[in-house]
Subunit: 200 residues, 2 copies
Amino acid sequence: MLRVYGDIQSGNCYKVKLLLSHLALPHEWVFTDTRKGETRTPEFLAKNPNGRIPLLEYEAGQYLPESNAILYYLAEGTAYLPQDRLARAQVLQWMFFEQYSHEPYIATSRYYLHFLGQGEKYKEEIERRRKPGYAALGVMESRLSGRQYLVAERYTIADVALYAYTHVAHEGGFDLAAYPAVRDWLARVKAQPGHVTMAG
Amino acid sequence: MLRVYGDIQSGNCYKVKLLLSHLALPHEWVFTDTRKGETRTPEFLAKNPNGRIPLLEYEAGQYLPESNAILYYLAEGTAYLPQDRLARAQVLQWMFFEQYSHEPYIATSRYYLHFLGQGEKYKEEIERRRKPGYAALGVMESRLSGRQYLVAERYTIADVALYAYTHVAHEGGFDLAAYPAVRDWLARVKAQPGHVTMAG
């Protein structure tokens, strides 16, 4: 059976849980607490030398890290990943955008504010992420205006990946009021069959 | 003909140039200078709302951003991207690692030191990137010890992506002396047919 090491409160882990739920794939979820250093033990580092979650154990003793690579692996051959060469590259385009231009600002702000609950201590760190975080939301707003989904007019793992931290952006202090196309898209994602919330 | 907007001195752009050279694909290279604000003009933002290079114009008026999505698109159907489902996911694993755990530290340090030539001004920014940058090199060293290439025992776009900034890590103040497997791998990549340097 598939096994995932993760914490569903982390968007990077939640996105894997969300796709597993869409696909109704049986799996074991091993709660792994970064705050307790559980990703930095010798045992965990032997599984993933980069010391991060989520981590997929796709076969006993065989591991795949990186949330978006895990999504790609699980979605292969399903409706959540198009077959067309260009559409695949566009799915990846939005997933690389997510990890490079979105997650480091929106997820990290949420980490300081919501996960650690230390907004005052990390005030400058959060402030520095405000502008690029809103820029990422602006890029999404521009893409989603007049579109139902990010790629190929259907729900794909690009939407799964970007939903994870966008739907909790307010927990990082981001206000989505000025992003109506993003808000409509969040509602469409939430209405997908098999949707699961961060509450599990 | 394919057209690329980029600056070969940027590793993210150079990796596209390197793969185009391996594949001997005819293309037009449009030099785009971020320091002159050329990625923030209304004309450029109409092509890529995220305002970044490289940008591939794969058909007249049709654009694909994100360096690693471009590599994936160009490598599809070639020897540089395996067909096997797991190997593909592992190629992506290393490309997401590159953008999330490697580029923000090693490339950005090089940007301040080498590209802008303002090591003193950005001293703290560079200092903050030292530890995670070396951690990324450590993850590569662990993977490449006893292996020729990152994935599937052959040269793939995962190697192309990580070569781009690793081979100029010294320009970001990183010393590769303690990473012999990485240094041997750099030499193997450089010896690939069709290799091109950052000098163009």
